[in-house]
């Protein structure tokens, strides 16, 4: 179905108020007093390039009771995302061309966002033998990002080889930095609170030591490396040092590590159990500062759905992970905009342009200018909303339920198609 509409009076990231005209899947014009078949009043809304999540667990194949590609991308659309990168820890693991092609094709079928499968670095995420990275890169899914997320590529030789090997097709390794021996049985951040609660600690050094090793490895073999879900002040300092040294490192932070702290574990409510764990207020402050000053490149959700029974139990028995797609933009707004410390340009960088660049998604994260793909999100930054448990995700493990967060995604336009309009999800995806 051909489309032709104008988004009237949108506020762009630079603060100017313009109209955006969309024809089919492209932006054809940005200017004033544009007209078309349909004119949509967007006064008071901020227009940004559609968000790109570099770290999403869609759970399919294998864990469809938690999430599917369809429900996960619907949740993404409601959060303003037009692209997600699906983590490899499915069952079977996305460590072959067959699995990544299946995930990519489920994404196309769903039609709510671009779905880019992430390939496993090692066979079965076991850290022992490289998966067929070339086959995945050359498959129809054209995988560029590889990660054993959930597990750390802890063997330094395997990590070195992976970093080197993906240079052949301009890939990138996204490392889940967690020294396994230092985190055996770990349940929460190791610190004053874990001492009181008697929960086995997950020390910051277990993350920082791997990041330190891996930036040095990346320097040695002159490769790119991406650090998943940075969670500590020390990690920030290492990445800052590495960037100053010219090492090709990029880093992400999750919304929850920007907002929540270890203190929440006192409730023994496992909705706050996540890996890496919630850290201290000092870490949160360092992560926020690093996001603003550019040390951290992107926000990625680590959206990790789990069925009710995986959380409705004692802390030790509960699964790690929390939802994030539908609340990420609000937390970004709190940290970057409402704090008065940054602006919408940075917002667009960390949620759209930078993740697209890191992953090599050429059709995402484009400027809102004529000729770009019409991946656009419109936010009403003035609304305050109380987070409710209901969402498009199949799971309900959101740590934000009951919290009041700023901002609301009003429209999400994915290649010219409204996946979300007036904050309501489209009944069907883009065909």
């Amino acid at each position: 179905m051909p489309t032709n509409f104008v988004l009237k009076n949108v506020q762009l990231a630079d603060g100017s108020v313009q109209d955006i005209q969309v024809q089919d899947d492209k932006i054809v014009s940005v200017g004033s007093t544009l007209s078309a078949d349909e004119v949509i009043d967007c006064s008071g809304l901020v227009a940004l390039p559609g968000f790109v999540d570099l770290h999403t667990h869609l759970r399919e194949p294998g864990f469809e009771q938690s999430e599917t590609v369809l429900t996960g991308t619907q949740s993404a659309a409601l959060g303003g995302f037009t692209a997600v990168h699906a983590m490899a820890n499915t069952m079977p693991v996305a460590d072959t061309a067959g699995v990544v092609e299946q995930v990519a094709s489920l994404g196309k079928e769903a039609g709510y966002a671009d779905v880019y499968p992430i390939g496993a670095v090692t066979v079965g995420l076991e850290g022992k033998q490289l998966a067929e990275l070339g086959a995945m890169a050359n498959s129809k899914a054209q995988v560029k990002v590889f990660s054993d997320d959930g597990k750390c590529v802890h063997d330094p030789v395997i990590m070195r080889r992976a970093l080197e090997y993906v240079k052949a097709f301009d890939g990138v390794i996204a490392q889940h930095a967690q020294e396994p021996r230092l985190t055996e049985g770990a349940q929460m951040h190791e610190g004053a609170v874990s001492a009181e609660l008697g929960l086995t600690g997950w020390p910051s050094v277990a993350e920082e030591s791997i990041i330190a090793r891996d930036v040095l490895l990346a320097e040695h073999v002159d490769s790119r490396i991406h650090i998943c879900h940075l969670s500590t002040k020390g990690s920030v300092e290492i990445v800052r040092w590495a960037k100053a040294r010219g090492i090709k490192v990029t880093a992400e932070v999750t919304p929850h590590h920007l907002l929540l702290t270890e203190e929440l574990a006192r409730s023994y409510d496992s909705v706050y159990k996540v890996n890496p764990p919630l850290r201290t207020a000092e870490d949160v402050a360092a992560l926020r500062e690093a996001l603003i000053d550019g040390t951290i490149d992107i926000i990625a959700t680590d959206h990790a759905p789990h069925p009710i029974e995986a959380k409705d139990c004692e802390w030790n028995a509960a699964a790690f992970g929390m939802l994030g797609l539908e609340t990420a933009a609000s937390i970004a707004q709190e940290v970057l905009i409402d704090s008065g410390k940054s602006g919408w340009n940075r917002f667009a960088q960390v949620l759209s342009q930078n993740p697209a660049r890191i992953a090599g998604d050429s059709q995402q994260g484009q400027e809102l200018v004529a000729g770009s793909f019409a991946n656009i999100v419109l936010i009403d930054p003035k609304v305050k909303r109380k987070v409710v448990a209901e969402s498009a995700s199949k799971s309900v493990n959101s740590p934000y339920v009951g919290l009041e967060l700023p901002g609301k995604v009003v429209h999400t336009i994915y290649r010219g198609y409204f996946t979300v309009r007036d904050s309501k999800l489209a009944k069907q995806g883009r065909s």
Partner: protein, 319 residues
């Protein structure tokens, strides 16, 4: 008070009240007919996910002496393994009308979770949750200290100014955590003595003085109480210390160290003891040892806790 989940649930007044009720209960335990009708018609479930014969029979005896109907529910494993989940177990007990559940579980926070989940309405008593807390142990330890220090004049008293050293695996000890809280509440001064590997990485919020050397603690602190903790076998092969012999030499309690304590000082152990590892036979069996008194007092204190939580009208007179 509905539940006893943590020693932090107890104010100073509430703690002293329970200790005072326990004095009354100790009187009952010295009678020919060691039984009160207080909990007649109440059902108490001992829900043990972890083996602990000592704690279970102590609670069971306390419950029976108060005439409660007692059910022992031993559920090996947890929802991690193939077993029934904590939630299903709790809901089953609720459906059967349990008035109180005494829970022992390997997961820290399990008792708290049970009490705050909405799965069950009865009172919850924490009989040890993972490496978190064991509040009735702290109460029986406090009772024992008070009795040794104040004798028949114990009623109404706290432990003000009493210097207590707790020695051993502090990091993994629920006994240490509950004792720290309760002893602080009662005015005692807490000293933790352990190798650095068996202390938390960040004990900054603990109101306790830390020592790496047992000898220094003994020689410099004029201790009233030395409480030795059990070294679990699983710590021995995990590089927390080089060998049992070295541990025993540096942090074990023995006759020579006993001789350097003042005569009125007592030696405690929550049991079961590893004789020859954290404590030697001479000090374990010396008149200054309270190991068996702790067991006896455990029944009285648990009776007092059950009474305080379950008897309809709160009344400090147990008779």
């Amino acid at each position: 008070m509905k539940n006893l989940l943590s020693a932090a649930d107890l104010t100073r007044d509430a703690a002293i009240e329970i200790l005072d009720i326990a004095e009354e209960m100790a009187g009952v335990n010295h009678r020919d007919i060691k039984k009160l009708p207080t909990l007649r018609g109440k059902t108490v479930v001992n829900l043990f996910f972890e083996d602990s014969t000592r704690t279970r029979i102590s609670f069971e005896l306390a419950e029976k002496r108060l005439s409660a109907d007692v059910i022992n529910f031993t559920a090996k494993g947890s929802s991690v393994s193939k077993g029934e989940s904590l939630k299903d177990t709790a809901q089953t007990l609720e459906a059967m009308g349990a008035d109180a559940v005494v829970i022992r579980h390997s997961a820290s926070g399990a008792a708290y979770k049970l009490a705050h989940s909405g799965w069950i309405n009865g009172s919850i008593i924490n009989a040890g949750d993972g490496t978190h807390e064991h509040p009735t142990q702290a109460l029986l330890d406090a009772f024992t200290m008070r009795k040794r220090i104040h004798g028949d004049a114990s009623v109404g008293k706290g432990l003000d100014g009493v210097k207590v050293a707790i020695v051993g695996d502090i990091l993994h000890s629920r006994v240490a955590r509950s004792n720290l809280i309760l002893l602080n509440t009662l005015g005692a001064q807490v000293h933790f003595v352990a190798p650095p590997t068996l202390l938390p990485a960040n004990p900054s919020r603990w109101n306790a003085k830390l020592h790496y050397s047992l000898d220094n603690a003994i020689d410099s602190e004029d201790l009233d109480v030395v409480m030795m903790l059990r070294i679990q076998t699983e710590r021995m092969n995990a590089s927390y210390f080089p060998s049992e012999r070295e541990y025993s030499r540096i942090w074990g309690f023995n006759a020579q160290r006993l001789g350097r304590l003042k005569n009125s000082a007592i030696v405690m152990h929550p049991g079961p003891m590893n004789r020859g590892l954290e404590i030697d036979a001479i000090s374990a069996d010396s008149p200054q040892s309270t190991v068996l008194e702790q067991v006896t007092n455990g029944v009285s204190v648990r009776m007092a806790v059950l009474y305080a939580l379950l008897s309809g009208e709160r009344n400090t007179n147990a008779n």
